[in-house]
């Protein structure tokens, strides 16, 4: 789908506002939007809201064979997806430049910084290790996906618990969560990305750009850092020339932001842990803001089922009666090795049509023109022909059309009689 183009008017306004140190949502230059971290009922599931940008992360694990060159190390796998829900410009399954860039940044931020102890994920050296998979889904794109994704990924990793394993000789048993308490990952530090956008060839700088600011920016600098002020990764894109002082200033700002965000993640983790141990309610269902008017929650509803049997019968009787399925579907064996249900060889149209006509014409007076009579005669002859060909299967035809038999029975003695009688009878009728 097409994204709404950015008008010249918006571009001019944004740049003017940035020059005046004003931002669209009333923030200051170095302010982040509100960050909200919510954990799900599963371990390792987390939704991060950064302003209106929303990201969902889920961590999962699997026992796999390790890589040959690193037999004692677990594997970390990151997958960031730009869901077509997030923006009309995102298409399903397309490897866009943005997607590749974000995936690469996330990997560099979390895998290459060695923040997770991969050796503790080894179960049997050279044979079985845990593969930790992190899926990040971008659900709403209002700018700065990278920061939101990195917060979601690290928070989900901290929240995740893998099942315990026991080794007896060669055998590896994975215990379910009921048997043994699951084990958290060992995380050395928490790298978090902080994005800086530059405007007018680097003269102005903004932290946490929103979507419209991202569209007019000249360049982007992403710094991944942990709260010990160690830079884990740094990337500048957009082709702007930054001065040394600018980069240093950014890293200083980043260190402040990272320590704030780390505290927030830790608080959210503690909160979730407390609620879980106390046995309270947790998960996304509890985090829905009930005071909003766009939200409604209802308690579980009991269904009254007093006359369920009656109703079920009502459905059965209300339905169209299935026309004698039992009789028609007896399998027929024509030749050894084949089977067939029903007889589809004969065309019974001629038969039915005639009988309908017959009934219609009953009340008609004797004054019938000859032409019609002739026509009928020829039709009846056709009918006779059909029967003659299928001499041996005459009975089958009758069984397949029990209704026609009923119709006929009051006038014709039996349809299995020679069809010639029908012709004579019909001819007689007008005479009567």
């Amino acid at each position: 789908m097409r994204e709404t183009p950015l008008s010249n008017c918006e571009r001019q306004f944004l740049l003017k506002a940035i020059e005046e140190k004003k931002r669209l949502d009333g923030r200051q230059t170095y302010d982040y939007r509100n960050i909200k971290i919510t954990f799900g009922t599963d371990y390792g599931c987390c939704i991060v809201d950064l302003g209106k940008t929303r990201v969902l992360a889920q961590v999962s694990c699997e026992l796999v064979a390790p890589k040959e060159n690193r037999p004692t190390e677990g594997i970390l796998f990151f997958n960031l997806e730009l869901s077509p829900m997030a923006s009309p410009a995102f298409e399903l399954g397309r490897q866009s430049e943005l997607l590749v860039k974000l995936n690469r940044l996330l990997e560099r931020c979390l895998r290459n910084s060695k923040c997770i102890d991969t050796e503790s994920l080894c179960v049997v050296s050279g044979e079985k290790v845990w593969q930790i998979r992190v899926d990040v889904h971008v659900l709403n794109h209002e700018g700065n996906i990278m920061d939101a994704a990195s917060i979601a990924a690290i928070a989900a990793l901290c929240h995740f618990r893998r099942p315990d394993v026991g080794i007896q000789g060669e055998e590896v048993t994975v215990y379910s969560t009921d048997e043994r308490d699951p084990i958290p990952l060992s995380i050395y530090h928490m790298p978090i990305c902080v994005s800086f956008s530059f405007f007018l060839q680097g003269t102005y700088l903004l932290v946490d750009p929103c979507e419209r600011e991202e569209r007019v920016m000249d360049g982007l600098l992403v710094i991944a850092m942990n709260k010990h002020r160690e830079i884990c990764s740094i990337q500048s894109s957009g082709g702007i020339m930054l001065l040394r002082e600018q980069v240093l200033r950014c890293s200083k700002i980043a260190s402040v932001k990272v320590s704030e965000i780390t505290d927030l993640i830790n608080r959210a983790l503690e909160n979730d842990k407390k609620v879980r141990t106390e046995g309270g309610k947790f998960g996304f269902a509890e985090s829905i803001p009930k005071q909003r008017i766009t939200v409604l929650k209802s308690d579980g509803a009991l269904l009254e089922v007093t006359n369920l049997e009656q109703k079920a019968e009502g459905i059965a009787s209300g339905a169209e009666p299935i026309s004698d399925l039992g009789r028609a579907s007896s399998p027929v064996v024509r030749a050894p090795g084949t089977a067939q249900v029903g007889e589809s060889l004969e065309n019974a149209w001629g038969l039915e049509q005639l009988e309908e006509e017959e009934e219609e014409e009953e009340p008609v007076d004797q004054t019938m023109d000859e032409g019609q009579e002739k026509e009928e005669e020829s039709l009846y002859h056709k009918k006779g022909e059909v029967v003659v060909i299928s001499d041996s299967e005459e009975e089958d035809v009758v069984i397949l059309h029990p209704e026609t038999k009923v119709k006929d029975s009051d006038q014709q003695t039996s349809s299995s009689q020679q069809q010639g009688t029908g012709v004579t009878k019909k001819k007689k009728k007008p005479v009567n």
């Binding site: 097409r2 709404t4 183009p5 010249n8 008017c9 001019q12 306004f13 003017k16």
Partner: protein, 234 residues
């Protein structure tokens, strides 16, 4: 007759609600969200049923996506210049076309000065489900009547279509209340785009955020907020 409809005016209806008519004497005009289905009237959008004398009924809903309708004035963004026409994004499913002759005083020699990315305030000449929508920047007398290219130095933002209709309603309280806060210029397109211009950047930003937040507010809440802003604004 129309009584069953009249009883429901002002209440919330959902798609699939049906009104049936016993006699066909009284005529009812179905507006957006209502459809005739044989002898019945079918609601096909969720929202509040509104009524206008003598017999007009429609559903007032809060949707975001715009569907072009003939005669409506919208704010468009010029995306392509191709030969004799400009292709304009109005937020609908297709780009609308705008002929360069459809401006006041434009001739083959004297082309209007329109650049890609410019904002135009224009009216739909053709808009139906089977044809490409077409815009014009003049009325039937050939006058601009406020339409044309505009928008230097203002701020453009998006609000819901419901809010836009409330802004454009005659004697709109919302506009009056805003007006009391500080002076400003405003262009409102029925496609959910609003452009404002005021003395300072700060004022324009305040206006934008006020309009974005007052969508889900009751009148007293809104008035309280506007008063607060008017006092604090320099």
């Amino acid at each position: 007759m129309a009584d069953c409809l009249k009883d429901k005016v002002g209440s919330v209806l959902l798609p699939g609600d049906i009104f049936s008519f016993e006699s066909k004497e009284e005529k009812v005009i179905c507006g957006p969200g209502l459809r005739r289905n044989g002898d019945e009237i079918l609601v096909c959008k969720s929202g509040i049923l509104r009524h206008k004398q003598p017999n007009m009924y429609w559903i007032d809903s809060q949707q975001k996506r715009y569907v072009p309708a003939k005669g409506e004035s919208v704010i468009g963004i010029v995306t392509v210049k191709s030969g004799d026409v400009f292709k304009v994004d109005v937020g609908g499913s297709e780009l609308a076309s705008l002929s360069y002759l459809a401006f006041e005083g434009a001739t083959k020699r004297n082309r209007p000065n329109v650049q890609v990315g410019d904002l135009v305030y224009a009216q739909f000449l053709i808009a139906n489900k089977d044809m490409e929508p077409e815009l014009v920047c003049m009325d039937s007398c050939g006058r601009a009547n406020g339409m044309g290219v505009f928008g230097t130095g203002g701020l453009l933002f998006r609000v819901s279509l419901g809010l836009v209709r409330r802004l454009l309603a005659p004697q709109s309280e919302l506009v009056k209340e805003l007006d009391r806060a500080f002076p400003f210029e405003m262009v409102v397109g029925l496609n959910g785009r609003v452009w404002v211009k005021a003395q300072s950047t700060q004022h324009m930003l305040i206006l934008a955020s006020l309009l974005e937040t007052c969508e889900n507010m009751t009148a007293p809440q809104r008035q309280a907020l506007f008063r607060k802003v008017a006092h604090s604004a320099p």
